[in-house]
């Protein structure tokens, strides 16, 4: 530890470190969910590109036209799936005594920590594709707006509601100072 911040009353080296906390990965099944939802998105893109070519009289309907428009989309599709697979192990969460932490991203890595005493509420959600794999997402809201809200996807129902109960229990304990 360097001593960059010398004017502080606590010794920074003695504080618990976020990166040292115990992180858990999310359910492996969620990788399928994210691959499917990405694929659906690209399929929609391809269909709309094809429709533009088919229904526009000014564009020839040759192999070249289809190749030029759909080829790059296919390429991005492959990239996107590859990225999703590579980035998947980075989606990890950690529960500490007083906060919840979530990390994500491969090229642009982000680690967000929310103290329990700043959580407004938490909810367990399930999208249509998640339902096929019986997975749930936990969404944690703060007063910091969308940018600081946390979504932990790919949790088993039992686990998701257990974490939610844990969080809400903690916020209720700390709620005395929040009106």
């Amino acid at each position: 530890m360097t001593n960059t911040f010398q004017n502080l009353s606590v010794n920074l080296a003695e504080l618990p470190e976020v990166k040292q906390s115990e992180f858990h990965g999310i359910e492996k099944k969620y990788l399928k969910v994210s691959l499917i939802s990405r694929s659906l998105w690209f399929l929609a893109l391809i269909v709309s590109a094809a429709c533009i070519i088919l229904f526009n009289d000014d564009i020839d309907k040759g192999v070249f036209e289809f190749g030029v428009s759909i080829g790059p989309i296919l390429l991005f599709w492959v990239f996107s799936l590859g990225y999703a697979i590579k980035a998947f192990p980075r989606k990890r969460y950690s529960l500490r005594e007083k906060d919840i932490i979530y990390t994500k991203g491969l090229l642009w890595q982000t680690r967000t920590s929310i103290p329990f005493n700043r959580i407004q509420h938490a909810e367990v959600k399930q999208g249509p594709i998640e339902r096929m794999f019986s997975l749930h997402s936990l969404k944690v809201f703060t007063a910091g707006g969308d940018s600081s809200d946390l979504v932990i996807p790919g949790l088993e129902e039992e686990n998701a509601s257990r974490i939610k109960e844990y969080i809400m229990g903690k916020t209720a304990l700390d709620g005395t100072d929040q009106q």
Partner: protein
């Protein structure tokens, strides 16, 4: 005080002037919603009496609808005080009864627009915490009534919270002997100084945006219209291109200048910033007179900034941001007070934040790589692309685009020189700015969430950016050593988790 509570204990209506004020609100709403249609009908009208009749009937219908609507709204609006709560019963088609307990009320603001001022009434706005619908407005109340009501509610609220919290006796003594101090008062001379040193480029942009969005709504393509209008003068324009250009620049400049000046004077006329129990109070405005109360505990961050023009007057603009419960009132929760000198900035900081922590601390720089990154990505690369394209078309004249590179180098250098942050046990100060200076300060324990972000480039250089999310927006410290970023993360989380003060 008993008088007041008995006066408002029965459901009562607003002052009768409210009808006029609601009517104006209605008309404004109608005009804002329907003006593009009205205008297009007006422009596209054909001669022929039947068509004009229709327009007349439509206008009449709308007017009648507005009048009836506002009268009904007035008669279906009651408010009263009941068991330590403020109750509003209203609605014509959709009836609603809202019950706001005093302790949930954050602030009560009074506002007067020009109609209010003529009739000597005010509108009263009750801001509550937490709920999605965060505001209740009473359109018109007699001024004395409104002030009495506000005082009554705030005093009751204080008693309630004192019972609940029971603060130590010293604090109570301080509160009892509280007197309002005037921190800042702007006279017309100050206002002119502020108006003159406004960011005129920004008002220019606002004007342009306004004109273009308006034109866009009226005609489908602005360019067609411009072409049509100018086609007659085309030759004259082509031969006197520079004159026309310089002329329009001067005209636009003068208009923006007047716009910012008038805007400043209207908004901040007779501005008075005073202390009040638990915070600050701002009174200002000429046509639209407003009175805003700022709660100390609700303040999330304070920033003060200048620009090169303002520096000549040594004046700063202070912006106080409060926690906002709904997205909609985001603008209201940011209070800008122009024309304060450094001494007043200090005074405000000392009132809102704990005194002992307000002092300039050690400035921590961010990594020099930030400067190079910005220089490469917004200076060198765009300039090279633009130059190569321009060179292809314009030959040697295209090389002028290379001037962009030294310009960006200079501005980035200015920016980097000012980019730093200060940290102490209570708060963090973020310093930045290119031509002006911008400082923002917030209390660590009010942070809602902390993020550490690393791009692949930052990871290679062992750097990171830290983002602090507060209830009034995010603050970012970019490009600091990873270890320092993690220390900040750990420290701020520790501060938030151990502090039990109210953050809102």
């Amino acid at each position: 005080m008993e008088q007041i509570s008995s006066k408002f204990s029965q459901p009562s209506r607003q002052s009768r002037v409210a009808i006029a004020i609601i009517l104006i609100k209605f008309i404004r709403f109608t005009i804002r919603t329907f003006w593009p249609i009205a205008l297009s009908i007006f422009i596209g009208r054909k001669s022929g009496s039947s068509f004009q009749d229709i327009i007349g009937y439509v206008a009449l219908g709308l007017a009648a609808f507005n009048l009836i609507g506002s009268v009904l709204t007035y008669f279906r609006f009651y408010f009263h005080i009941e068991d330590g709560a403020f109750v509003i019963d209203k609605g014509v088609l959709k009836r609603s009864k809202t019950n706001i307990p005093f302790e949930r009320i954050q602030t009560i603001n009074l506002q007067q627009n020009i109609v209010h001022q003529i009739f000597g009434v005010v509108s009263l706005e009750i801001d509550t915490a937490g709920a999605k619908k965060s505001e209740m407005t009473i359109d018109a109340l007699k001024k004395e009534d409104a002030e009495a009501l506000r005082q009554y509610i705030l005093e009751e609220k204080d008693q309630l919270s004192e019972v609940a919290v029971t603060p130590d006796s010293t604090e109570q003594a301080v509160q009892e002997s509280f007197e309002e101090d005037v921190i800042l008062k702007l006279d017309i001379g100050d206002l002119i100084k502020i108006g003159v040193s406004q960011n005129h480029l920004r008002s220019m942009a606002i004007l342009f945006a306004f004109v273009f969005s308006t034109l866009n709504e009226v005609t489908d393509s602005v360019s067609d219209m411009v072409e049509e209008q100018l086609s007659g003068y085309q030759e004259a324009i082509l031969s006197n291109g520079w004159v026309v250009f310089a002329g329009s620049v001067v005209i636009v400049g003068i208009i923006s200048f007047i716009y910012s000046l008038v805007n400043t004077v209207l908004k901040n006329y007779d501005l008075k910033l005073t202390t009040r129990k638990g915070g600050l109070r701002v009174i200002r405005g000429l046509l639209n007179k407003e009175e805003i109360s700022i709660n100390k505990s609700k303040v999330q961050n304070i920033s003060w900034s200048d620009n090169p023009l303002r520096r000549a007057f040594k004046m700063y603009t202070i912006q106080i941001e409060q926690a906002s419960s709904a997205q909609a009132d985001q603008l209201k929760s940011k209070i800008k007070i122009p024309g304060s000198y450094m001494q007043q900035v200090k005074q405000i900081l000392e009132i809102v934040f704990p005194k002992e922590f307000i002092a300039e601390g050690e400035k921590h720089k961010v990594s020099i790589l930030l400067k190079y990154r910005i220089f490469v990505f917004s200076g060198v690369l765009p300039a090279l692309v633009a130059t190569s394209v321009a060179f292809y078309h314009l030959r040697n004249n295209g090389l002028w685009f290379l001037v962009w590179i030294p310009i960006i180098w200079l501005t980035t250098s200015l920016y980097y020189k000012k980019r730093s942050f200060e940290l102490n046990d209570e708060m963090l100060t973020n310093n930045r700015g290119t031509f002006g200076n911008y400082h923002e300060i917030f209390q660590l324990y009010k942070v809602q969430a902390v993020s550490i972000k690393q791009s692949w480039y930052q990871r290679r250089k062992n750097l990171a950016s830290v983002v602090f999310h507060t209830a009034a927006g995010s603050l970012r410290i970019p490009f600091i050593p990873l270890q320092q970023a993690e220390e900040l993360e750990n420290f701020v989380l520790y501060k938030v988790e151990t502090d039990r003060r109210k953050w809102m």
